[in-house]
Symmetry: C2
Subunit: 405 residues, 2 copies
């Protein structure tokens, strides 16, 4: 009897939880499990703002996939998925192809630039390990260059962060700590540096408790961050950005660094492969499969789940991706064992904490509002928990955050 | 009775030795001593290749001037000399001016680009702390960017070093050690990296013992350095360099980084102030004064001393600058005390060691040829000696090189 073949695309939070749960639940003879990922490492997407600001080394935010998978049960293939051929049940990879009986698409998000001119060319992103260290090096290079020029260009020291959502605010928190270090390192006057957050929406951290948002903005403002709320980026240029407040007030802000942290969309492979999607996200069935595709699951940032309390989609988070990975693994086991009932996924939002740098944060955990060191402690526990869920205590010891007091 | 005023321009090797020797030899009431320097720190010019490659932090190659001068005897002014008005016996500074009875010009060298097109705009230099850290950051940025691009540009990882003199070879030695670290840091395949040394002269390290030169080139070649000797850089562009071997063979070498390490000239203030000079270097009298200028000394890289054995100028080195500083200080004391006899400067070349990275070097010390760890040890002792001469044992302990085995 031929073993069914399960192919998991992506070793982010969702894909890696699926793979590690499957290797626990399945016998070696029950299924062939293949995990395909572009890199040989997993990275913590939710820690990238630290690597991007330079407050945490990029090797601290990643670990090797082979260290957490059981290679007697899961075959790891380092390759990049290009397209899914759902009729022939195979995935086209850059270096080959692989057929599947069951497919899990866990490929994560892509930056969404909303067609704003110049963003792709001139703005940096907080997207993966490669982009994070490039951004860190770019900022350092700006500081290193400042004193080399006869005519000092102060705008070289200006950093624009587009977006006051989760990633934008967390990055600002790290930057606020990093800038004084950079000033010291490169003999730059702190007062020459500007950090400007530009957000098109009328508020910071939409959906967050207003009291906590106030805490965050005043904390960041005290550290030197300027907020331009209700202000849209119209264009990004090699010299900075063009913004508009309302229709008329068009203004140029010169900046040596522009970071785009204002939104993600699902993976482009979804639409390329002919699956119906909204901004690359598939509205999945309760069992996490694509409607009409009984052999294809989508989890993580490319899946769309509606929060029925407010009739809006849940934002894509690591928390949801990991919970989906667990349900997806159980449903795959059920399919392989030919059970007819599949489990319905229901997010269990334990809390949300937005870090404001090393020692401060805001958050709601189990319904309780937290700020300061308590929130910061919770954030690190959340980060450690993600490690624990994938790799157990040994991974927490290796990669965890213990600078908690 | 008015105290004579001694003004020292520059706190490099020569200026700082002059100042620290004067503060030992002179009573507080004998003279006003003013030391003027652009930065509030001294840096080790001969260690800059390490900071530029990133093998030594730039804070390790500098120390604060106020830590080594006796402020009861020497007044330190942080300012930049613009021009010398020898008729009115004053120095125009960026932020003011200062008059002198005796002047010591110890302003160091400037890069000489021989009019090669594009070098000033597109090539990096190993000139001071600012340039060193900019170069380090530039190289890191190239490596950080490599994996960010869909279409990999291997030339981004090519580093051209123009010049196979002392600075060029020492920088190559550091780079050869640094590149494997950078490859590891940024997930770059070592075989994609090229380090190319381009030298117009028909040899590496002209004037050095040929056997030692062979040792150096084969050592560096084993570590991956390519030498293009007898090859002139015709132009530097944003994409790399154009070289010519002979008259016809013109070729483009694409490179993300071009470093110009092929020559220095005296400080431009010399010519600007109307002193006779060759490439900014003044052929000084044996007592180190400018011919016809009984109150102006020139020491260090802007002074020209002929080696009579070979009838050619001594190359500008830290060793000579420091020895000149000692003689200059004694001659200033003699002038202030109205002695008629001034001492004649005679270089005492104890040896020359060219480092090839952390653990290797070539050199001639007291007439003996050295290679490998012995030469490397001597190099570190020479570096420590420079610290000792300025700041005694405490400065050696603070900034010295003790990784000697």
């Amino acid at each position: 009897m031929r073993k069914p073949k399960i192919v998991i695309l992506g070793a982010g939070y969702g894909g890696l939880i699926t793979a590690t749960r499957l290797q626990k639940m399945m016998g070696a003879n029950e299924a062939d499990i293949v995990l395909i990922n572009k890199n040989d490492y997993h990275y913590e997407t939710t820690w990238l703002h630290e690597a991007s600001a330079g407050t945490l080394h990029h090797d601290r935010v990643r670990y090797e996939i082979r260290d957490v998978i059981d290679r007697s049960k899961v075959e790891f293939v380092q390759d990049t998925a290009v397209e899914i051929n759902k009729e022939e049940k195979k995935v086209i990879l850059e270096k080959g192809e692989v057929s599947y009986d069951y497919l899990v698409i866990a490929l994560g998000a892509e930056p969404e630039t909303f067609g704003i001119k110049g963003l792709k060319e001139y703005a940096f992103g907080i997207v993966n390990v490669n982009s994070a260290r490039q951004l860190r090096e770019h900022i350092e290079y700006q500081f290193a260059t400042y004193n080399m020029e006869e005519e000092k260009k102060d705008e070289r020291l200006s950093i624009v962060v587009g977006g006051a959502g989760f990633t934008g605010i967390e990055f600002l928190g790290e930057l606020a700590n990093r800038i004084p270090e950079l000033c010291h390192e490169y003999d730059v006057d702190f007062h020459k540096v500007r950090i400007i957050c530009v957000e098109a929406a009328p508020m910071v951290l939409p959906g967050f408790d207003p009291e906590l948002v106030n805490y965050a903005t005043s904390y960041l403002e005290r550290k030197g961050v300027e907020f331009m709320i209700g202000t849209a980026i119209k264009e990004c240029t090699p010299d900075g950005i063009i913004v508009a407040k309302g229709e008329d007030e068009v203004k140029e802000i010169k900046a040596g660094t522009v970071v785009w942290a204002a939104g993600v969309r699902g993976n482009s492979i979804i639409e390329k492969s002919g699956f119906e999607a909204m901004r690359g996200r598939v509205k999945v069935q309760p069992d996490l499969r694509i409607p009409g595709q009984d052999d294809v699951f989508v989890i993580g940032d490319s899946s769309l789940i509606i929060n029925e309390e407010i009739n809006r989609p849940y934002p894509p988070t690591a928390q949801i991706a990991m919970q989906q990975g667990e349900v997806c693994a159980r449903n795959l086991v059920a399919l392989v064992r030919e059970k007819s009932e599949l489990e319905a996924f229901k997010p269990d939002i334990k809390g949300t904490v937005c870090s404001l740098g090393e020692n401060d944060a805001i958050g709601v955990v189990y319904g309780k509002k937290l700020t300061g060191s308590k929130a910061s402690f919770m954030k690190k526990m959340i980060d450690n928990r993600a490690l624990f869920m994938v790799g157990g205590p040994s991974l927490v010891l290796k990669k965890g955050k213990f600078n908690i007091f």
